[in-house]
């Protein structure tokens, strides 16, 4: 067999692998979509606003709820919570102003 | 086509690095005509411009001025792309250093020139095996070339030069790395090719070559210019 055919077969094999992974991904996503109804049921019942993604410090637990200031929350001298603390941008509440205009008398 | 002339040069001049400090005038004002079926020798000491003339005749490079007609076609202004096409179809080159590609087998080396033409590899392999058989190299076909002796390397190089059925076979100092017996072998091979109707052009300063009885045309060169042309 010529080498280009071997290479072609290798690429084909990888593509088939990817296609198989794509199919499993479809299956798992559709399973997740069913499950996500239960999940959003929990969200609704408990009125949760955030996912439990990084709870190493209090202020990283609810990125959409936390205050902007944050250091030393657990005890004085507590180091910054790297990496969650450093890679989570503060929630952008500035945008709140735009669609909501409050007229003051 | 004037009386069987296959390559004619007019006033051929080639500079290397023209206009720079290391400018070299390699050939100047060379006018020769080589007939179809000639056995031509370019003779002269090293540095006399033989190799440059050989590569000009073999469409390897473009002249600085003057003209080359190959089979009646002026090729002195052609872009490299078309020069390569002509070379690929009419010339077979045997280099002084053999220039085989290391790490590949004899057979692969012989097949290499025709890869980009889209040749069918199975047919190409048959053809290469046929050529190697004619040169007594068939049993060596799967050997890596770096393990071959000098003579075997040269026979591989000859087979490679013939793979495209060239009209013209060019060889540059082919005997420089061979002993006397092998040099004679080489000349016999060239003679066989010549007898089959190929045009053979050899640049050499080895007496075994230019005193060979088949050599019909001897072009003597010195300092880039043609000193003497003898036709037997």
């Amino acid at each position: 067999m010529r080498r280009s055919t071997v290479f072609g077969l290798f690429v084909l094999l990888c593509v088939c692998c990817l296609a198989a992974l794509g199919v499993t991904s479809e299956i798992r996503v559709s399973r997740f979509l069913v499950q996500s109804r239960d999940l959003s049921g929990i969200t609704a019942a408990l009125k949760l606003t955030d996912i439990s993604f990084s709870d190493d410090a209090r202020y990283t637990r609810n990125p959409s709820q936390a205050d902007i200031f944050s250091a030393f929350q657990d005890y004085p001298g507590s180091i910054e919570h790297f990496p969650s603390g450093s890679v989570t941008p503060p929630p952008d509440f500035s945008s709140l102003g735009a669609p909501i205009t409050v007229k003051r008398r | 086509m004037d009386n069987g002339i296959i390559i004619r040069t007019e006033n051929l001049t080639k500079y290397y690095n023209k206009g720079k400090a290391n400018e070299v005038l390699a050939t100047s004002g060379v006018s020769v005509g080589i007939r179809r079926g000639d056995f031509a020798i370019l003779k002269g000491p090293s540095g006399s411009g033989k190799t440059t003339l050989l590569s000009l005749l073999g469409c390897m490079t473009r002249p600085t001025s003057g003209s080359i007609m190959v089979e009646g076609r002026d090729i002195s202004h052609l872009p490299e792309r078309f020069l390569t096409e002509i070379r690929r179809s009419t010339c077979g080159f045997i280099f002084q250093q053999f220039h085989l590609i290391q790490g590949m087998s004899v057979l692969q080396n012989v097949m290499l020139p025709l890869y980009p033409t889209g040749a069918d590899l199975t047919k190409l392999r048959k053809k290469a095996e046929g050529l190697l058989e004619g040169l007594g190299m068939l049993k060596r076909r799967d050997f890596p070339v770096q393990g071959l002796s000098g003579g075997e390397q040269q026979r591989t190089a000859i087979a490679r030069a013939l793979i495209n059925d060239p009209e013209i076979v060019l060889a540059d100092e082919p005997t420089a790395h061979l002993d006397t017996a092998l040099s004679r072998d080489f000349m016999n091979t060239m003679k066989e090719l010549w007898e089959k109707g190929k045009t053979v052009i050899i640049a050499s300063h080895d007496p075994i070559v230019f005193e060979n009885e088949s050599a019909g045309l001897v072009v003597e060169m010195r300092d880039g210019a043609v000193k003497n042309i003898t036709r037997k």
Binding site: R28, K47, I51, S52, D56 | F93, P113
Partner: protein, 390 residues
């Protein structure tokens, strides 16, 4: 040129790559690794994002928090009556929740008062949730259960702000599949939350407002802010956007850091391509002398780049997929998730589409290929004449 000529050149390229096995496999290995890392980051953060968006579909349309001196404060629960009067508001419910630091396992829990019961067919809870007025019972997330070795029937003891220990019987444990949402939760009855945190009577953490038409939520938020200037309404849409930004930001940041490694690799590729060994240069000269054209050599170099980058790209994607979706991204999850005690242990849903692939391509293959163009051309224009002249 015919198709066969391209295949022939590819054949030669493969042969030629195989002759320098160690060097080329080394490059493929490094490149695969780069695609693997970049791919893992992209897949991971994209799946997080998509899951977060789906999960948060059920969260309240509007949260109203009270601000005092710039800090989040407890809010009087009777404000809800005023808010309910705003047209378009269909319900207001106070939320009681807070954080609890457990010195025993050095973890943060989220304590939450239950308000509604889950639908009976919800498969993600074992047991039940405490009722709003229940006392002494709790439902816990899988992360808490693991950290404190809890199961239904066991009990958990928490230290209240008053200093006295409170015991709760565990009546429900959330299933593993819901960990992205519930890993650190302890759900209690509302009176227990108030006692645990010693919240003043009539105060709640914040208010969850439901509206009849979500597109009107910003208008309602504006009215709430107008009536109660010390409050901060947070829209669900904004929470979703925050998540979008968080994951975009996180993976963007990691990618930027990672760009250093990528640049190093590109330099390697450039160096490999420019620093043609004398032997390789001679080979190209020979090829040209025996009848290969400049564009054939460029094509050969193209195949060389394609073989290396395509193999690495495909292998890298496959490995990244397996890593992220079968092994839970064990290599990178800590960097994305932070280092908490309670790691939500979840299996991500593999949301993958051509976007990820195109992105990965732009980040890895394109810079690699681009870095080899000029060096390949430089190699390809080697004068065939040079070979003859020796």
């Amino acid at each position: 040129m015919s198709l066969n000529s391209h295949l022939n050149v590819l054949d030669f390229t493969l042969l030629s790559l195989l002759r320098r096995k160690f060097k080329n496999f080394g490059i493929i290995l490094v490149f695969t690794f780069i695609v693997f890392i970049t791919g893992s980051i992209l897949f991971l953060s994209y799946s997080f994002k998509r899951e977060a968006l789906l999960i948060l579909k059920g969260s309240p349309e509007l949260i109203v928090q009270r601000m005092s001196a710039g800090r989040h404060e407890l809010i009087p629960a009777d404000i809800s009556k005023e808010i309910l009067k705003i047209p378009g508001v269909s319900g207001v419910e106070p939320r009681y929740w807070g954080y609890y630091y457990d010195p025993l396992v050095k973890a943060n829990y989220t304590i939450l008062a239950s308000s509604e019961t889950l639908p009976a067919n919800n498969h993600l809870l074992q047991g039940r949730l405490p009722g709003p007025e229940d006392k002494g019972v709790a439902a816990v997330g899988r992360g808490v259960a693991k950290a404190r070795f809890l199961d239904i029937g066991s009990s958990i003891s928490l230290l209240s702000s008053g200093g006295d220990a409170m015991d709760f019987d565990v009546v429900g444990v959330f299933e593993t599949e819901s960990e992205l949402l519930t890993a650190d939760l302890i759900v209690l009855g509302q009176p227990d939350v108030v006692r645990l945190f010693r919240m003043p009577a009539g105060m709640a953490t914040d208010l969850a407002v439901s509206v009849t038409n979500e597109t009107e939520a910003p208008v309602i938020a504006g009215k709430i802010r107008y009536i109660f200037p010390d409050t901060r309404p947070i829209l669900r849409k904004e929470i979703v956007r925050t998540y979008d930004a968080v994951f975009g930001w996180r993976s963007g940041l990691i990618l930027t850091l990672f760009a250093g490694a990528l640049v190093a690799f590109i330099i390697l590729a450039w160096d490999k391509a420019t620093g043609l060994s004398a032997e390789e240069k001679k080979e190209i000269g020979i090829l040209k002398a025996i009848g290969w054209e400049t564009s054939d050599i460029i094509e050969m170099k193209f195949w060389e780049g394609l073989v290396i980058s395509l193999s690495s790209f495909l292998l890298g994607i496959i490995l990244a997929y397996i890593h992220v979706y079968f092994f839970g991204a064990s290599v990178f999850a800590p960097a994305l998730k932070g280092w908490s005690v309670i790691y939500p242990d979840f299996r991500l849903a593999p949301f993958i589409d051509p976007y990820q692939i195109a992105m990965l391509m732009a980040l890895t293959v394109i810079p690699y290929i681009a870095s080899t163009i000029i060096p390949s051309w430089k190699a390809a224009i080697t004068d065939p004449d040079e070979v003859v002249r020796g």
